[in-house]
């Protein structure tokens, strides 16, 4: 994983945060949200591929990358509120959201809580209920805490953090707060069932999210219940992509990810209200 030392972005005052964002390309806005312990730079070539046809706004979430932490817990709901506030601050009206893993959780909550500012949603490798993770992965998340700091410091994720965080010394507190977030059980069935926003769910076939859970997610959004007609009518406004030979740790740089997402963002269909 390369360390991104270039700083091309700006900061927005959002809900007490000094929130870092960078803009790439022109066209319909797409907020792009990284995974846990990551930052915008983690998407590699996927970001410029997306930016060929739209304005990609890479955002570093609370405590991540170039956005310093503030004194409140890390929660998907508040991160969702931050995204909605950023959309308003940037005067975008509505934007598309695409989030991977932790960023997917934030994007999903932004859509559940503030659907009026979201046109389309792409959720990559993110469950809508904590037990959507394989037990092995869920167990790992529940074990994240202060004792994980030394181990985490050996990872490329830490190398990137140390290079760009406003206060790298926050790392132990960051790890503790992340443990408090990713280990918590949650169930967003109700919120997801009520969503009208056109949504693309993407998981790898060897992801940390179980394929059966991805199917359940798709069904909550109206999919997987009937075959479409020969002429394509009868397709729901939501979509499911399962990428072959793909894990939780290579999906966010996979050219297949960009190739699956771009037609969904560009398709003509009724937009979310």
């Amino acid at each position: 994983m390369t360390v991104d030392k270039d700083q091309r972005g700006n900061y927005a005052p959002v809900n007490g945060l000094n929130m870092y964002y960078e803009i790439h390309g022109t066209g319909k806005p797409l907020l792009l949200l990284h995974g846990g312990f990551g930052s915008t730079g983690m998407f590699g070539e996927v970001l410029p591929l997306l930016a060929e046809g739209r304005q990609v706004i890479g955002v570093d979430l609370q405590a991540h990358g170039r956005t310093a932490d503030v004194d409140r817990p890390l929660r998907f709901e508040s991160m969702g509120d931050d995204l909605a506030a950023l959309i308003e601050y940037l005067g975008l009206g509505k934007a598309d959201l695409m989030g991977y893993s932790l960023g997917g959780g934030a994007s999903l909550q932004a859509t559940i809580r503030h659907h009026e500012v979201v046109r389309r949603l792409v959720v990559v490798s993110t469950p809508f209920r904590h037990d959507g993770w394989y037990p092995e992965n869920a167990q790992e998340m529940k074990q994240m805490g202060p004792a994980s700091v030394e181990f985490m410091k050996q990872t490329p994720l830490y190398e990137n953090y140390a290079a760009i965080a406003p206060r790298p010394e926050d790392f132990p507190r960051f790890v503790t707060k992340m443990g408090d977030l990713i280990g918590r059980d949650y169930d967003w069935t109700e919120g997801v069932s009520a969503m009208k926003t056109p949504t693309l769910i993407v998981v790898g076939d060897a992801d940390a999210v179980q394929p059966s859970h991805a199917l359940e997610f798709y069904e909550l959004l109206g999919g997987g219940k009937a075959a479409a007609s020969w002429d394509g009518s009868g397709m729901p406004s939501s979509r499911l992509a399962i990428l072959p030979g793909t894990t939780h740790y290579d999906i966010f740089q996979s050219p297949l990810l960009a190739a699956s997402v771009i037609p969904f963002l560009d398709a003509s269909m009724p937009d979310g209200k």
Partner: protein, 275 residues
């Protein structure tokens, strides 16, 4: 660099004059078309790209495309035997297989009854190993269908272009409906016994329930987190915004996913686990 001119011909096999085409050069990839279809209507969009990097062999089944019908019902076991015999007659004793819908079921049957012939297998579109796969309303719809309902369709037009007896279209459709009605499939143990790397591909709005395809993926060793156990040799692809019919038009996705899968190294032979 240009492709070599395709070689076409007929091989006498089990009473058929069975038609085939060979494009390109390199590791053989046998493409098996869908029901009522043939080479161009199933593979027109992907064949040229694939033939740059491998030898593509398209085989047309009993009563389909250029291959005339004979007086016997359709069966996957027979179609697999016919295909195996044609390939061996033409000096191919091991190949990759890409089957679309009916062709995928034939490829599955080949992996079960002619395992040494199959290096890797791709089943795309309508992926199923028994009748539970299909949406119930769809099954009801198929029962109501009459052969005339497909007059003027793309498949009928393709048939009219290449069939030795274009007036036999209704007979082909009727025979295919009979075949579908009688479809039983394979027991789970037969799918589990398949040792070759297998990729299953469906559209998210295909004719089969995705749950059935995930079950099949598990029988083939899939459905594990790759960060803990490594990426399994078998793969699952669900193409977004894609129907049963539009799947074969998704040329870019298909070619990149196929190439990536077929060109990946073969798994090492491991001892069977004792637990």
């Amino acid at each position: 660099m240009t492709n070599t001119t395709p070689q076409t011909g007929y091989t006498p096999v089990n009473g058929l004059q069975m038609y085939y085409e060979i494009h390109g050069a390199g590791r053989p990839l046998v493409m098996l078309h869908g029901a009522l279809s043939e080479t161009q209507s199933s593979f027109g969009k992907v064949l040229p790209a694939l033939a740059w990097t491998r030898q593509v062999i398209s085989v047309e089944q009993q009563a389909h495309g250029h291959t005339a019908d004979i007086d016997r019902p359709f069966s996957y076991a027979q179609m697999a035997d016919d295909t195996a015999a044609l390939l061996r007659h033409n000096g191919i004793d091991n190949a990759d297989f890409f089957g679309y819908s009916m062709g995928g079921a034939i490829a599955l049957q080949l992996a079960i009854s002619h395992p040494n012939l199959v290096r890797k297998l791709v089943f795309a579109g309508g992926v199923s190993y028994n009748r539970d796969a299909f949406y119930p309303e769809l099954m009801a719809g198929f029962d109501q269908m009459k052969p005339e309902d497909l007059d003027g369709s793309e498949w009928q037009k393709a048939y009219a272009r290449v069939a030795p007896n274009p007036e036999n279209w209704h007979s082909l459709v009727a025979k295919n409906m009979e075949h579908d009605k009688g479809f039983v499939g394979w027991p789970p143990e037969a799918i589990q016994s398949i040792k070759v790397p297998t990729m299953l591909m469906i559209g998210d709005a295909d004719i089969v329930r995705p749950e059935h395809v995930v079950e099949m993926f598990r029988l083939l060793g899939g459905g594990v987190p790759g960060d803990f156990y490594g990426v399994p040799p078998s793969r699952l692809a669900v193409l977004p915004g894609t129907t049963h019919v539009s799947l074969i038009d998704r040329a870019d996705w298909l070619v990149s996913m196929l190439t990536d899968f077929l060109d990946a190294p073969m798994p090492e032979i491991k001892e069977a686990p004792t637990t």
